[in-house]
């Protein structure tokens, strides 16, 4: 197993910031990306914070990221807007988009802002939480750049893990906060099983003939995740359908999907994703309900669910977001656990970008 060292959030903040500075990112954009990434690490979503930096560096080296993007609102009519991200790293246009959606929600009751020509934006839940932090309902989706999920009845992977996040503000409880890939699991979980030398459950992944694959090493080679549901009998057409909803709202609505070559150029007969698109929505519950009625009744709903008799008394019924809130508290105090592998990868990023390696300062 990998060795873990706890690093204070502020050190990670400075480390990422120093890399972005070397890339030539503006202070404003860098601050936005750093904030989203470190908040995500604090919430325990290791796959979407600092852990993404080596991949971002790779895209930077390949010329896929524009460190000095001209992020522009290209359409703004009533309760909707469209943003051109100019190949930016995903966080800055997404923070701008969600803020604009929230402004529109305050004015019109609901606001929708879509972002095109963007890149990976981290964890979808960060953006929906921006809304609930200010008393609004938030929703965030993104198309995912790599093709790893197999449509129901298909043999080839055709789209990404296309996540959906939805957050609603309660009065007494922390916000309801759902952040889910529309695949059964994200590939990170298969990697964890591989390192632990454990088989994966039937239903997570397929082989190249469309049969369930339970060996994590082979599953990683095949790179064929199932849509939520796992197979047709257990509802994988629903996970596939939700993923297509995300694709339509993020890619088609922003002009980010074109037929033709695949993203990586390796599957010439499939579609490729020209770029990554995002979709943000905010709604103002105060336009629908009086005073604290919405928050109080959401508390009632959450309390009812938590009070459901559990199968195992040691594992109570949870609400979406509970594990992340607990982790946030723990990591804010104890620091963010970083594996020795990631230390080395970040050291490499520093070498490539010319930034100082300060994780171990």
């Amino acid at each position: 197993m990998a060795k873990l060292v706890n690093v204070p959030a502020d050190v990670i903040r400075r480390q990422i910031g120093s890399v972005f500075e070397r890339w030539g990112m503006s202070k404003e954009h860098s601050d936005m990306s750093v904030h989203v990434m470190v908040e995500t690490d604090l919430r325990g979503i290791d796959s979407h914070g600092l852990g993404m930096l080596p991949m971002y560096q790779e895209w930077m080296t390949l010329g896929l990221l524009n460190p000095k993007p001209d992020i522009r609102v290209t359409r703004d009519m009533g309760a909707i807007a469209l943003i051109e991200a100019d190949r930016s790293l995903g966080h800055p246009p997404s923070v701008i988009a969600m803020r604009l959606a929230m402004k529109k929600a305050r004015e019109f009751g609901v606001g929708v802002v879509a972002v095109g020509n963007s890149n990976h934006y981290g964890a979808a839940g960060h953006y929906s939480l921006m809304a609930s932090d200010e008393g609004l309902i938030g929703m965030a989706m993104t198309s995912a750049p790599s093709r790893v999920v197999v449509p129901t009845f298909a043999r080839e992977p055709m789209y990404g893990t296309n996540p959906i996040a939805f957050t609603a503000p309660a009065k007494r409880n922390k916000a309801f906060s759902l952040d889910m890939a529309t695949s059964t699991v994200a590939f990170g979980k298969v990697q964890i099983a591989r390192r632990a030398r454990k088989p994966i459950p039937e239903g997570w992944a397929l082989d190249d003939q469309g049969r369930p694959e339970t060996d994590p090493v082979r599953a990683i080679q095949f790179r064929r995740a199932t849509p939520l549901g796992g197979n047709r009998a257990l509802g994988s057409h629903k996970g596939y359908g939700l993923a297509m909803m995300v694709e339509i709202l993020c890619s088609t609505l922003t002009g980010s999907w074109v037929a033709g070559r695949s993203f990586d150029g390796k599957r010439p007969d499939g579609p490729r994703r020209k770029n990554v698109g995002h979709f943000f929505m905010a709604m103002n519950p105060a336009k629908f309900r009086d005073g604290d009625d919405f928050g109080n009744e959401l508390d009632g709903l959450m309390d009812s669910m938590r009070a459901t008799p559990p199968i195992d008394p040691a594992q109570p019924v949870l609400m979406a977001g509970d594990p992340e809130y607990a982790e946030y508290e723990r990591r804010s105090k104890d620091g963010i656990p970083v594996t020795d592998t990631l230390f080395e990868e970040v050291r490499e990023v520093c070498k490539t970008s010319g930034a100082k390696f300060i994780l171990q300062d």
Copy 2:
């Protein structure tokens, strides 16, 4: 197996209309409900069309339905509105709500209308299709009145099948049209297995100790469906989370969820649903994209998916809505298959309501 007789859509239309007339429903409301129900039968969703009439009659007899509701828009601000359904059968306020959401989408780019104090509204997909029929993106959700789904880690059912429908208009293809319960399956599928004397797949239902139940007779006794995903390892927390999103948008946003007694009064310690709420959204792709760009690129996405190499050449990759479009064509020509059991149930409805039984005219 049940005997089936094909009945022309128009006969079913007149049969349902004659019952609603006896209830004292206005011609306008009756026409709305009849249209939604028969369209749903034509699309092959037998559980949500004429098949619901016996249940509606039962609710009518119990005084749960108001046949002469005063359906009012109680809030209307910018891009959102709230409708009070006055205990109406769900279809009329829902048709009114979706029309209003569509009007707002044309003006503001997006429109959201929530409906409170309502009842069963049939198939969610009918309402999202209303939007795509006029070139808009549509979304519809509803809370479901009976508690049949078990939260992840829980032993007791706490909420309904809470469906999500999403429809987007293409240019060449029929609209993408997803209409899914957030449970692994609806209970109707367990009933079908029971009649066929076949075990159900592990993952559909639980016993009263939270263990997988594969005997359909016992599964129907226990009435404990799983959230989409089936169990925690395969992602049931995602199905549960989506169902809570639906509950929040349909119940909390409209004041339709209160803690206290259960809906049927049989579970005094659980929550009850005071009434049923719905959520409708429409978006105008023409505000985001030029001319036919949205429809053309959605065609590209749909064509790409359909062209994915299938596992079994006899079962090509589908898009959400395909089976219903095929069924619609078949049933418009051949009539709607009605089981002998349903014939008898409708005959009873006619006796109770005083309507003439014309299904066999």
